[in-house]
């Protein structure tokens, strides 16, 4: 089967809070924008029943409700959605390729917003009970099915304890396996005191999962006490894992810079190591992974993609023209040395009207264009001929040098 080829200005990989926000910014900038999501639009936030710390919702909102609003807003700005998974990318060069099972998308800019996925325990038998066989990562998805039952929660962070408390509304008993000593948990203090006071919650301290067992479906979780090594079998109907998340970055290995755990490295403009490729949200190496920060990242990445595309257009349509020679003066308005040279450049411009196209680029405002010319400092003059840079003058910029270069 031959793959279809489609062109976009921006392709966003991942439809969580970060991707949707980037979409809103790109859509509003009238860029032709595609968002590719492999699962439910809304991302990991839809896994929680209660988001209480996202500003603007004083009464809280369910993750699904909140993300549906994001989705609606992105659609309003004509972001197109494709629900499938991105299999591979080729990001070098100006036309970037994003490939799915049926289609090859060619795009000017890519925003990576793939977020994270739940971490597994690695315990024996785990693989056999994933999906609908008893191990879950989503309390809102599977709570109702556990009405009147006994469930286990593994972990003691905010997600584990808050989701565990939500589960007590359905299950008869929620048993929490905590790695730490008695009374120590990783969650916030409010959640901790509420959980400890909840009569349906029971804690088993100093434990990790050793094995999952059961006939076809999960029936028992065998915990191991970290201090005594004793094994403790616990009968459960389901087990919810909340032991952290790992980034969805396998397809970017050896392409984008990442830290040891696989989180993408960006600067504060959400730029990755490849020009025109941005990363936003939980997929980044960052201090706080929340909806509020994912939104901030997405806004920056969307804005950055817009600027990058505009800059590419200026570069091709104004600077790298082959109808006549060009002179690009890269300068910095706050630098006196640069300002001193301006009269020379302007005199040259006036004398060569119609023969040489003179363009001034402020490196402070658009370092991107200077970088594309191979210029990293100002003042500097780049000479263009036949649509290519043929000479860069860094030292002793003067009229004679320029004239000599043109001839």
């Amino acid at each position: 089967m031959k793959k279809k080829v489609e062109q976009y200005d921006v392709v966003i990989i991942g439809g969580g809070a970060a991707g949707l926000t980037a979409g809103i910014y790109c859509g509003r900038a009238r860029l032709k924008t595609l968002l590719i999501e492999k699962s439910l639009v809304g991302g990991l936030a839809t896994y929680t029943n209660e988001i209480e710390n996202y500003p603007g919702f004083p009464d809280g909102a369910t993750g699904l409700e909140l993300m549906n609003l994001f989705h609606k807003q992105a659609k309003k700005f004509d972001v197109r959605f494709k629900l499938t998974d991105v299999k591979s990318v080729r990001l070098e060069g100006e036309t970037k390729i994003v490939e799915t099972f049926r289609t090859i998308y060619e795009t000017k800019a890519v925003i990576v917003a793939g977020g994270g996925k739940p971490r597994l325990t690695g315990a024996k038998g785990e693989e056999d009970y994933l999906y609908d066989k008893g191990i879950s990562f989503c309390a809102t998805c599977d709570a109702a099915a556990n009405t009147g039952k006994t469930v286990m929660v593994v972990g003691s962070g905010d997600a584990a304890i808050e989701e565990g408390m939500f589960l007590t509304k359905f299950a008869d008993k929620v048993i929490v396996s905590v790695l730490h000593d008695e009374g120590r948990m990783d969650c916030n203090e409010i959640a901790k005191s509420e959980a400890l006071a909840n009569p349906k919650m029971e804690f088993i301290w100093n434990t990790v999962v050793d094995e999952f067992t059961g006939e076809g479906r999960l029936e028992e979780v065998i915990l191991r006490n970290l201090k005594t090594d004793a094994l403790l079998p616990v009968k459960v109907d389901a087990c919810f894992l909340f032991i952290g998340y790992i980034p969805n970055t396998e397809i970017f290995k050896d392409i984008l810079n990442m830290n040891n755990s696989g989180y993408l490295i960006t600067n504060e403009k959400m730029e990755t190591n490849i020009e025109g490729v941005f990363a936003a949200g939980d997929v980044r190496d960052k201090f706080l992974k929340q909806v509020a920060t994912a939104v901030g990242d997405g806004a920056i990445a969307g804005y950055g993609a817009e600027k990058y595309i505009a800059e590419s257009e200026t570069f091709h349509n104004q600077i790298m023209q082959d109808d006549m020679p060009g002179l690009v003066f890269v300068w910095n308005a706050v630098d006196p040395k640069c300002r001193d040279l301006m009269p020379i450049i302007e005199k040259y411009e006036a004398e060569n009207q119609g023969k040489v196209r003179v363009i001034k680029v402020d490196i402070y405002k658009s370092a991107g264009i200077a970088n594309r010319l191979g210029v990293f400092e100002a003042p500097c003059v780049a000479m263009i001929k036949d649509g290519k840079v043929f000479k860069i003058i860094k030292d002793r910029i003067c009229e004679d040098e320029i004239i000599a270069a043109i001839e």
Binding site: K38, S39, L40, V41, G42, T46, Y47, L64, F81, L83, T84, D85, F101, R102, Y131, D132, C138, T140, C141, D142, A144, A145
Partner: protein, 77 residues
């Protein structure tokens, strides 16, 4: 024999029912067949596509309406 396309109606059904039905139905199909699972509980969007991809099948989803989807699974093996 021509590959066939089979529709599986899971409308109105909550997790884990749609995934259980999908797994069962897929075992009755031949390689190359296409199973279209209709769902309207968002929870099924989180496990059916992931499960099917993990099994090695090709998956695409169409949003048919607000809150209603078709998960299209091409059986690969």
């Amino acid at each position: 024999m021509m590959a066939q396309e089979v529709l599986l109606d899971c409308l109105g059904e909550a997790c884990p029912v749609p995934l259980v039905k999908t797994e069962k139905k897929l075992t009755t199909l031949a390689v190359g067949d296409i199973l279209v699972v209709q769902i309207d509980h968002s929870c099924a969007m989180k496990n059916i596509p992931e499960w099917a991809r993990k099994e090695g099948h090709n998956v695409e989803i169409e949003e048919v309406d607000d809150g209603e989807w078709e998960v299209i699974i091409e059986k690969v093996k």
